[in-house]
Symmetry: C5
Subunit: 98 residues, 5 copies
């Protein structure tokens, strides 16, 4: 699962039937401090994430198929949480890398 | 799932039998503004995507096996949508990264 | 499975129901000597890892679904071990790369 | 699935029993114009690919297990096609990125 | 599957119960000529690989679960072969990239 930022919506008229009615968003994986990291992913969104909001996305195909209600869907990435806060760990209990 | 651009067709005479009759295309993952991102993928195409068109590709193996109609197929990536438009999110409701 | 360092906690009020009650942590994959390597992952933690502690994380979705007790969960990455020590291999038995 | 070039053979005396009798090759993922892209993969080869030949490789574990005839095999990547030709798409019907 | 070099052992007292009794090693993916490529992986080792030895590692979760004898294990990467030799392909039959 990745921390990501919602960066756009996709419109696709021709698509796999299981995506009908689902919002597709472009999610840019980011680091804790908001820097872009790695390849953007296209995810389905059932939580109503706002543009530029930070979210958690997961690549679990079986859960995505359940979410769209089609066991034959090629859906993989989905938004699984909307992030309220990232605690940067300033009160570290232990730092095992000297 | 990745946003990608169709960049070529592949011809392969010797191949796994489950790929017979399927169009194989090279899809370059791209960012929202069209920059290449990461490794190109070879995908099967059932939607008739045009060259240089923007598409959504998915790595879901179980759906690809269903698509080609062979439960033993090694197919993984497939084109699952053809992109009409990418909304760049200029009307952001919320920007949680200051 | 990746060697990683715990770098933050996530708070998410709106999330998939299977994540209720689970701690979500940001884990930065690292090399043997502690350098950041690749994209940070969001993982569930059942072992009580401390901030900045080195851990082993796994992307096994089926095990994560078992861990959270929900066969429909989109959970994937989880902390599967807390690292006490990394032996840097100074007493190599064999070095096959001359 | 990735477009790749065969770059070497591996000899391994001690290995998982399911690999007995299978040729193991190093496949370097490449772009459409032959540039190396990303991490080389070790794949099983049932198609008899020649050294330096361009191939399509797939990471589908279930198909690889079927190929080696052992449902408990850890095999993942396999060569699924030998590329005759890559059409670079000079006759694009549509270019959606201006 | 990746060609990798064993670069360290991990000690972890608190860990998922399925890892009890298993050696955990850090494996750095490498190219054919021994250069580091991509993110190091933590793998279970049942073949007794020596430090700095070249190995083949696989990410197949189902096989790893079988290996550790626990269908609920989050184990994914395992060493599946110890490399004796890498043939660099000096006698190429065909070079399809001019």
């Amino acid at each position: 699962m990745l921390l990501a930022r919602v960066e756009g919506n996709l419109t696709a008229t021709r698509k796999h039937s299981s995506f009908e009615g689902w919002r597709l968003v472009i999610c840019q994986p980011i680091s804790r401090d908001g820097q872009a990291e790695g390849v953007p992913q296209v995810a389905i969104d059932s939580l109503g994430a706002g543009m530029h909001q930070r979210v958690i996305i997961s690549s679990d195909g079986s859960a995505a198929r359940i979410a769209v209600g089609d066991s034959k869907s090629p859906a993989r990435w989905m938004i699984v949480g909307i992030v309220d806060e990232v605690n940067p760990g300033t009160t570290a209990l232990e730092d095992s890398v000297a």
